[in-house]
Amino acid sequence: MLEARAFEPEFLRKLDRLVLGIKRARTVRAGQRALGRIQGLGIEPENFKAYAPGDDLRFLDWNAFARFDELMLRTYRADRQVEVTALVDASASMGLPEHDDKLGLALAIGASLAYIGMADNDAVRIGAFSMHRGAMKLDATPFHRRRESYVNFRPFVMSVKAGGETRLGAAVDQLLLQRRPAGMVVVISDFLVNESDAADALKRLVAARHDVKVVHVMGEQESTASYPSGLFRVRDSETGEVRETVLGPATAAAIRRNVEKIAMRMREICTTHAITYAQAFGAGNLESIMERELPRLGIVR
C-alpha cells in the first residue's frame, strides 16, 4: 500500500527541505485573497499610526513624541499559525482500479503535505470524506503542529478504506460547518464527480478565505485505459450502473480522451477561482510529484 510510503524515513528525509507555499498577508483587507494577519502583541514592529483615544498607551512611541511632538502609536505584527487541512477523497472510485492504488497515492500525498506543513509548526490535519448510507462521512485527525507528532497520523492514514459515493460539495459543507479560521485546504481527489458539484465546492472553500490547492489523482491503468479487449460489462463502482461495452483500442482511445477532458475541465475551474491545480497521475510517480511537480506549481517550496 502506497500510503505506508509516506511514513518511511527515507522518503520523509526528502521532504525535510520543503515548506508549504502559503500566501501570508500582513493585514487583512477586504477583497484581498490572502491569509490575514492580526495586529497585536508581537516582537516584530510593523507600522506607526497616530494615536487615537482608546488606544493602548503601552504602545506609544515616546521617542517619536519627543522628536515630533506628536503622539505616535507603534504597531506590531502578531504571528498566527495557519491551519492546513489535507482533504482526501475516500470514495469507492478511489479504490479502483485496485492495481492503480489511487487512494494510497492520495493518502501519501496528503500525509506528505502534512509533514511539510509541520516544518513551520503550522497546525495540520488530514481528513477523508465519502458518502456512507446516504450521509456524508468526514473523518479527520486532530491538528498536529510539530513533526514529532507526525507519526500520530499513521493510524488514521492506514485505516482509510475506499467506499461510498463522492460528494465533494457535501464534504465542503461539513468542513465549513466546523467554522475553523481560514487556512489552507488541499483537496486530493480523482474528481470523477459531477462537474458543477466540484466547482461549487471549491468556490465555497475559496469564499471562506481558505487557500485552496487541488491535487488531481488518477491511476495509471485508468488514465491509459489498459483493459483486456473483448465484450465486457462495466459497472460503476459508486452508482452500480452497468453498461455493456466493447473494450479495445477504440475504447481505450475514448477513455484517454475522457481523462484529458476531465483534467482540462478541472484545470479551468481551478484557474477561474485562483486555485492551484496539480496532477498526480500514476502511483509510481509519488516521489517525482512531491519533489518536482508540487514545487513547480508552488504548492510546496
Binding site: V234, V242, E244, V246, I255
Partner: protein, 631 residues
Amino acid sequence: MGLLNPQNFIYGLSLALLVLIYLRSRSRPTIEVSSLMLFDEAPAPVASVRHVRIDPLFWLETATLTALTLAIAGLYVMRPRTPGHGRIHALVFDLGAGMSAREGSGARLDQARREAMEIINQAPAGDEFSVIAYALEAQARHPQTANLADLRKALGDLIPMAVPARTAALRAALIRARGASEIDLFADRPPAAAILADAASTARVNFHLVGSGDSNLAIVSLDPGIPRSTRGRAVIRNFSARPHSCELAIDLGNSEEFHQTLMLAPREQVVVPFGPIRTGGVLHARILTPDAIDADNDRYAYAPSDRPAQVLVLSPDAAVRDDIARVVLAVNANFQIETADPARYLADANASRPSAKPLELAVMHDCYVPAAGAASTLLIYPPQLAKNLPYAAAIGISVNGTLASADISSYAMGEAPGIESLTLGATRIVAIPEWMDLIATATGPAHSSIPLAAIGRAAGGPVGVLAFDVRDHLLLAPDHLDALVLTVDLIKQLTAARDILIVATGADVSVPATGTARVTQPDESVRTVTADKWGRVRIRPLQAGRYIVESGGETTQVFANYYDAAESDLGAKPQAEAKAPAEKAAAASNAQSAREVQPLVFILIALALLALTIESAMLIGHAGRWGMRHV
C-alpha cells in the same frame, strides 16, 4: 462406438459440463471501474445478439474433450480393406439332396467343388481355407489350413445327403465361418438376403449358385393298402416345367406288383393306384426314368401281414373296451380282438389261455395284468402300483398321482405336422424309464414335463404308455381327434414288424442290439456301432435306401425314404430371378465387408494434444499481455 455405454456416457458428460460453463460465461465478464464517466465515448456492442461467442479457448477445450470422449468411446471409420497375404477363407457347401442333382457330366456338388478348387488355386500363397458343410446341421469338415492336398481331399470327401438343407443349418454354418475374412457359399438355391447380410457384418461373402436344371420326378408317398383287401396308392410328382415321362415300378419282395410308364404334365402330381397286393411285406416303389435326383426315386412302405393276430383289450370299463377294440380293428382289420374285465380275466386266465394263440398286443386300460404275456403292451392310463410289484420292477414305469386334466399342444411323429392344443381328461403323472422315447408331453405351466405318450423296447417287447384316461368315449369323440391320432400311431408302432423299420431320412432310428452292431449302408459300406447301456444302437440314415443292422444273430432292416417338396423342386424359381437378389445381397454384403474397421484412437488423441498445445500457447500469450490475473 460405445457412447451408449454408461461409462463412456459419463465421459461425454464432461462436454456437457464445459458447455454449461460456457453458457454461464456467456453472460459476459463484468469489470468494475471507478466511474462510467470514463466510458462515455466508448463504442456500444454490436446490436445483434450472438448466441455462440467466438471464444477460441472454449472451442479448443471443446475440441479436446470431444476428441478424448470419442477416443474413449471407440470411434472408428470403415475403410477399404487392404489387400494382403494370409487371409482366411471359408468354403461353405450345401449338402442337401438338391446338390446331388445330375447336370451334364456330374452333380451340382461336383460343379461347386470345381469352383472351390479354382478359388483355392487362385488364392495367393499363405491364404488359409476351411471347409464347412451343412444340410440338417452345420459341420466343419476341415479346419483352417493352407495345405492344399488336405483341402482337395476334404472337398473330395463331400457327399450330398438325401435330406433337405435347412435354413437354420445355413445360419449355423455361416456362424462357424465367422472367423474368416472371406466366405464362399456354394448352394443350389439362393439363401435369404438377411442371412447373407448377417454374415457380411464380419466377412466378405461370395455366393456361388450352382445348377440350373429343373428336371426332376419324385415319389411323394406310397400307401401299400391292405393285402388282398384294398388297393395301394403311389403319388408321383413332376417338378419340371415341361411334360415328363415316368416309368414306375413297384415291387413286393422279389416279385413285381406294378410296372407302368406314365406321362406327367408340367408340375403335375398324380396318384397311381395299384394292387391290392397279395401279401404283406416291404413294398418298394421305383422311378426308372433318369432324372436329376435319385434319392426321391425310391420309396419303401411296409404292408402289414394279413395273417390273423390276437389282441387282448383289458379295461374295467366296458365302454372303454369297446372303443379300444374299434380303434385296434381300424388299425388292422386282421386282428382278432378279445376284450375282458381285468378282474374276471385273472380268474379265468389259467383255464382259458393255455391253448390260445400268443398275443400280438395287450392293451390295458387302468389295469395291469402281468400274466397276459403279449409280444407288445400298451398301457393306457396305467394304475398306481407299488414299486416292489413285478410290473414296476420289470418295466420301470411308476405312477405318482393324477392330474385333473392335461394339454397336448403338439407332437410330432416322423414328418407329421404338429396339431393344435387339446385339453384331455384325467391324466396320470407317469415317470418313464430312460429307454422310452417321448412322443407327446403335457404342456402348460403346471405339468410341462409329464409324458402323455411314450414308447420303448423292454426285454419283453415294445411297451407303450398313454397317460390320459379314455373313458366316456374320449377316443371316439370328434373333439378329441388328437388323442385318437396319438393312440393309433402308438398302436401302429407297437404292432409293426420287429425287424423292419420304415423311416424318413434324417430321422434318429433306435434298433435293439447286443454289444456291437454291424451297419450296412445303402452304398454297401459297412460300419460298426456300439450299443448303449439300454441295448440299442442309434443310427441316422442320411442316404435314401436300405440299412441293415446286424447284432447278436438278429437282423433289422431300416428303410429310409427321402422326399422334400422344397428340396426336390429344382425349378421352384426361375434361376435368373432367384439369383438376382442373392447377387444383390452378396454385392451389398461385399460393399460392407470390403471395408474394414479403422480405429481413430490415435488420431483423436493427437488432435486433443494439438488443441491443448494451441490453447496453452494462447494462454501464455494472454498472460504475457494482460498478466496472470486475466488468464
